[in-house]
């Protein structure tokens, strides 16, 4: 069953203390790969069958109105199999 | 796999069943077959396995715990005693207060945040089930060494979990303990206390009475949380080579519990329930069998009616699920509509899943097929009772015969070094790093909280009636002498109530021990319970209930015996309470009680790796006289401040007093090293106006308690004989430890 996924991230200029904490923890554990880390949220919305354009539009509206706070966050909507 | 019904069990007696994997011993399995006259169905096997686990059945401790009833002192204040979800005491003015401590040790080692969070959730529901509004929580916590990497994994998660859940419920955290010791590495102790208040008429009990009354499940939906958590986690020791038990941990939702609290209180206010039980360890298995046992004895439940979060769960899993935030009520049919209405208002899921019957069987069906048919008492109350072998361990005589070898400070430099070392010791250092993660203000009735000797909450805004609670334990003393250790912890908790001016009234306890299959541990447990029961009888304080946590050990190494004693007291007017410290100069400081060379089991000994010697001998008659002196002095308003001395002795006591409001003290002591470091019990430091000294001396004579002036308040240093410690330096030592360790 396909799902519509919404990923919400803090805007780049907003302080992300959780991301910073994760980055420090990675470094302490010896993972030198990360220059920086930002933490966000992922919403998985299950729909019946293949998502229609209208359903995706609904989710985009929901993302703007509820799932994200446009003052401090941005979002991306995509369909995943 | 086809459903294992009662009929199927009857017709297939030789089916092999995984009783051992579920934690049952062969003789226990045989007994179940005897009770039922056939092999159990898999659902029945699941029920018996969780309910007969150590954690639920208390099979190793029952024979000893009955001393609390047998030796119970007569107390007019006790309204509900041992046996119910929590004890209830009368505090006057028509109010009843219920309180209890519980443990959630093993889950907190596995998943610190959720383990601690669900620990709070569980004890709060226990209080709620008595019909009370929960009004405060406390958390006695014990961890491995402060600088150990695993402590850094476990402590922050546990503190965050307690705060995360308790704060969201709107319960002020009014005190607790944080203790570090190698003994708890791998076995942190997370004990949670909750106190609630109600009017006498509100008291609810866990009984299903009245054939035809409905069994109603409300709260969160049931999922796969903690399946087998109880019997798998708490009844076996950890073998660190086995795979992690992660899937068995419950996950809490404090928001749902907050709604459950408000919903339940409205339901209680309209008198809509006949009996009520919360779903904790062993979930539905426990709630149904306990409610049925407590009432007429018969109940019918349709398990398929249980609202599920995870539709793939089997009946066995539903019965064993420990999904949080669920309660089970017995409701008369004509009251059900209103019950449902209130649940709807609070958006709480609610379903009638069965009814009370006339018979004496608990019958559970799944889509019409009978999968459980048991006598409920055999599940809930007639579990195995073990008289485990016990033997005084070899170490006792050995350590008791050794004299602890310690360097005692003499010079001003050595004194200063010792005082600063103790001030910075993780067990004694400032705990703000922890306590500032807890809301102490919510509900607006907190009179005192950490670092005061006890937590105190106002329960009537007009009359200013209040209650005070303290929890205490001393594992070092319990290790050296479990019998005395229990008495000493009881006396300390009661003394901590009295320093504020409240009168001790009742006791709860959380007994944390190693494996009961170890005769030495069993001996420690038996001696502890004997000491606590004897102590409670001597002090006139009934045990209202409590909790036993066994199997706190990794491999063959048990934790030090750690009985945590909680004492509740009453104060008529919270506005008159005596704080722990002074905020003015010019007061006299007096030490009440006698100081001996009691260094065995002290923090000073611990810091030097010394565990030997003898514990002090509790003198409960003297402790009671001291309590009466404190209460009389409080009534006569002669104390500016009163602070109990415990771990860290006079050194820690003075440190805590001068740093509380940044007013120093000038102290003169003879035999200064011992005076500062000894941890003789039954001692309190009081600050009084010089004009009231004669009143104090008179009280001391009347109550036969030694009093000795040790100094005066004032200045910006703690001066002991010729040793001057600047308050800033002392504060720095005291407050840097936790931020340095935990960031």
């Amino acid at each position: 069953m396909a799902k519509i996924v919404v990923e919400v991230m803090l805007k780049p200029e907003i302080l992300d203390p959780q991301g910073n904490a994760v980055a420090s923890a990675l470094a302490r554990l010896g993972f030198s790969v990360a220059k920086s880390v930002r933490q966000g949220k992922r919403f998985e919305i299950e729909v019946e069958g293949e998502p229609t354009a209208s359903q995706i539009a609904q989710v985009e509206k929901a993302a703007e109105v509820l799932l994200s706070n446009p003052v401090i966050e941005t979002y991306v909507v995509r369909v995943e199999k | 796999m086809s459903l294992d019904t009662v009929a199927a069990a009857q017709s297939s007696p030789d089916t092999k069943q995984p009783f051992a994997e579920l934690g049952l011993k062969p003789d226990e399995y045989a007994r179940i077959k005897e009770i039922l006259g056939r092999r159990p169905t898999s659902s029945e096997l699941a029920m018996y396995s969780v309910m007969w686990s150590e954690h639920c059945s208390y099979k190793s401790s029952k024979v000893h715990l009955k001393q609390f009833s047998e030796k119970a002192p007569k107390s007019a204040a006790l309204l509900v005693g041992i046996g119910e979800n929590a004890g209830v005491v009368d505090v006057g003015q028509g109010y009843a207060v219920t309180f209890k401590i519980e443990s959630h040790n093993h889950p907190s080692f596995i998943e610190p945040y959720q383990g601690a969070a669900t620990g709070i959730g569980g004890i709060v529901r226990d209080i709620l089930t008595m019909g009370a509004r929960p009004i405060a929580v406390m958390d006695p916590l014990r961890f491995g060494p402060a600088d150990a990497p695993d402590t850094r994994r476990v402590l922050p998660g546990i503190v965050a979990g307690i705060g995360g859940y308790g704060n969201c419920l709107g319960l002020p955290n009014i005190g607790g303990e944080v203790v570090f010791d190698q003994t708890y590495a791998g076995n942190p102790l997370v004990n949670a206390l909750c106190v609630g208040v109600m009017k006498h008429s509100d008291i609810k009990l866990a009984k299903a009475a009245g054939a035809g009354n409905l069994v109603v499940l409300f709260g969160a939906k049931t999922g796969g949380d903690g399946i087998g958590g109880v019997s798998v986690l708490a009844s076996e020791t950890f073998d660190s080579s086995r795979s992690t038990k992660r899937p068995s941990v419950q996950v809490g939702d404090p928001f749902v519990e907050k709604l459950l609290i408000e919903c339940s209180l409205e339901i209680f206010a309209e008198d809509l329930v006949v009996g009520i039980q919360d779903l904790g360890g062993a979930g539905l298995s426990c709630a149904t069998s306990e409610l049925a046992s407590g009432g007429s004895g018969g109940m019918k439940v349709a398990l398929d009616k249980v609202p599920l979060r995870d539709p793939s769960l089997s009946p066995e899993e539903i019965l064993m699920s420990e999904s949080q935030e669920r309660m089970c009520a017995i409701v008369e049919p004509h009251k059900l509509p209103r019950f449902l209405e209130i649940c709807k208002k609070w958006d709480v899921t609610v379903t009638a899943i069965g009814e009370v019957t006339d018979g004496n069987r608990l019958e559970i069906t799944w889509n019409g097929e009978l999968i459980v048919n048991v006598p409920p008492r055999t599940v809930a109350h007639e579990g195995p009772v073990y008289n485990r072998p016990m033997a005084q361990p070899a170490y006792i005589d050995k350590v008791n015969s050794q004299k602890v070898k310690l360097s005692i400070p003499h010079t001003a430099t050595e004194i200063k070094e010792a005082v600063l070392k103790l001030a910075a010791a993780p067990n004694l250092a400032d705990k703000s790093w922890v306590t500032s993660q807890y809301d102490r203000y919510v509900q607006g009735n907190t009179i005192q909280s950490h670092p005061e000797d006890s937590g105190m909450v106002r329960i009537d805004e007009t009359t200013h009636l209040g209650v005070a609670i303290s929890t205490d334990a001393n594992a070092n003393w319990s290790y050296l002498n479990p019998y005395q250790g229990a008495k000493l912890a009881l006396a300390e908790a009661a003394r901590n109530i009295a320093t504020a001016g409240a009168r001790p009234l009742a006791v709860t306890n959380c007994l944390n021990f190693g494996s009961p299959e170890d005769p030495g541990v069993m001996w420690q447990f038996a001696e502890t319970v004997r000491g606590l029961a004897d102590g409670c009888l001597a002090m006139g304080l009934p045990v209202t209930g409590g909790n036993v946590s066994f199997y706190n050990q990794t491999g063959t190494v048990a934790i030090l015996p750690t009985p945590v004693i909680g004492v509740l007291g009453v104060i008529q007017d919270v506005r008159t309470r005596t704080p722990m410290s002074f905020d003015t100069a010019g007061l006299d400081l007096f030490l009440l009680g006698q100081t001996y060379e009691d260094l065995s089991g002290s923090e000073w000994a611990f810091l030097h790796g010394e565990r030997t010697g003898q514990a002090p001998t509790a003198d409960l008659a003297r402790e009671m006289r001291l309590i009466e002196l404190l209460l009389a002095g409080h009534a006569a308003k002669i104390f500016h401040a009163a602070h109990d001395l415990s771990q860290g002795g006079l050194s820690a006591g003075l440190t805590e007093m001068v740093l509380r409001y940044s007013v120093g003290a000038i102290i003169a002591l003879e035999n200064v090293g011992v005076a500062l470091l000894s941890e003789s019990p039954g001692r309190v430091v009081v600050a009084i106006d010089p004009k009231k000294v004669s009143d104090l001396r008179e009280l001391a004579t009347t109550h036969s308690i030694k009093v000795e002036k040790i100094g005066t308040t004032g200045g910006d240093s703690l001066t002991i004989n010729d040793c001057v410690i600047d308050l800033d330096e002392l504060r720095h030592a005291h407050t840097s430890t936790f931020p340095r360790l935990f960031g």
Binding site: - | N167, G170, D253, K258, T435, Y441
Partner: protein, 222 residues
């Protein structure tokens, strides 16, 4: 004078806010989130707590409650509204106030007796304070870091709409140490710390929080 106090599912400090209102001499009126009727109150308080468990974002779900439609309408007509802590979060999510409250910068819940300075005493909630008066009231939250873009920040500062500022070390990473702000009109105020828990030295650090509640009484009496 009637002051409404709203209860959302999960609100915790409603009874404390009501107590403070009654203590000030006004009459507290409890309002239910699902009810659009504001019961003819003269002012509204959105109290502290964890409405909807702070799930999704603090205040994000509460802002869609039926009662909030009435509050937004009334605020537009000038009714004084005070959002304390979670209430402040709801006001920001409702866009009655600009900016947003995010996770404390050190990631811990923090409960402390916090000194703040009153930097705007013209709002109906702060008239009894003198300008730059410093008071100590409890701060207790996990998501108290006030964030907004530079333009909004400049606007708030220039228009004197910062109502209170933290004194001393920044407890949670709030921009410009902002502890409280108002809308353009000045009738809607959001405050992170809890004045309702500082109305009696018996149960709080001071009684200095009472000023917020006596202010509204005075403002309406005029």
């Amino acid at each position: 004078m009637r002051v409404g106090v709203i209860t959302f599912p999960g609100t915790l400090d409603d009874r404390d806010a009501a107590r403070a209102v009654n203590r000030s001499g006004a009459q507290a009126v409890l309002l239910w989130h699902g009810d659009t009727d504001l019961k003819k109150v003269d002012a509204v308080i959105l109290p502290g707590g964890f409405s909807y468990g702070d799930y999704l974002r603090a205040g994000a779900i509460s802002r869609f409650s039926p009662v909030m439609n009435s509050v937004i309408e009334a605020a537009g007509e000038g009714m004084p509204v005070l959002g304390i802590c979670n209430g402040f979060q709801v006001l920001c999510e409702s866009h009655l106030l600009p900016g947003a409250l995010t996770r404390n910068s050190d990631l811990h819940f923090l409960c402390r007796d916090q000194e703040i300075e009153i930097t705007n005493n013209m709002t109906p909630w702060t008239t009894t304070f003198s300008l730059k008066e410093r008071i100590v009231i409890p701060l207790k939250n996990g998501e108290g870091s006030f964030q907004c873009d530079d333009k909004t920040l400049a606007q708030l500062e220039d228009e004197g709409r910062v109502v209170a500022r933290y004194v001393g070390e920044n407890p949670n990473g709030s921009r410009n140490l902002i502890a409280g702000i108002s809308n353009e009109r000045g009738n809607v105020v959001g405050l992170m710390p809890h004045p309702e828990h500082a109305i009696d030295p018996l149960t709080g650090p001071t009684a200095q929080g009472l000023g917020f509640f006596t202010s509204i009484l005075n403002s309406m009496v005029k």
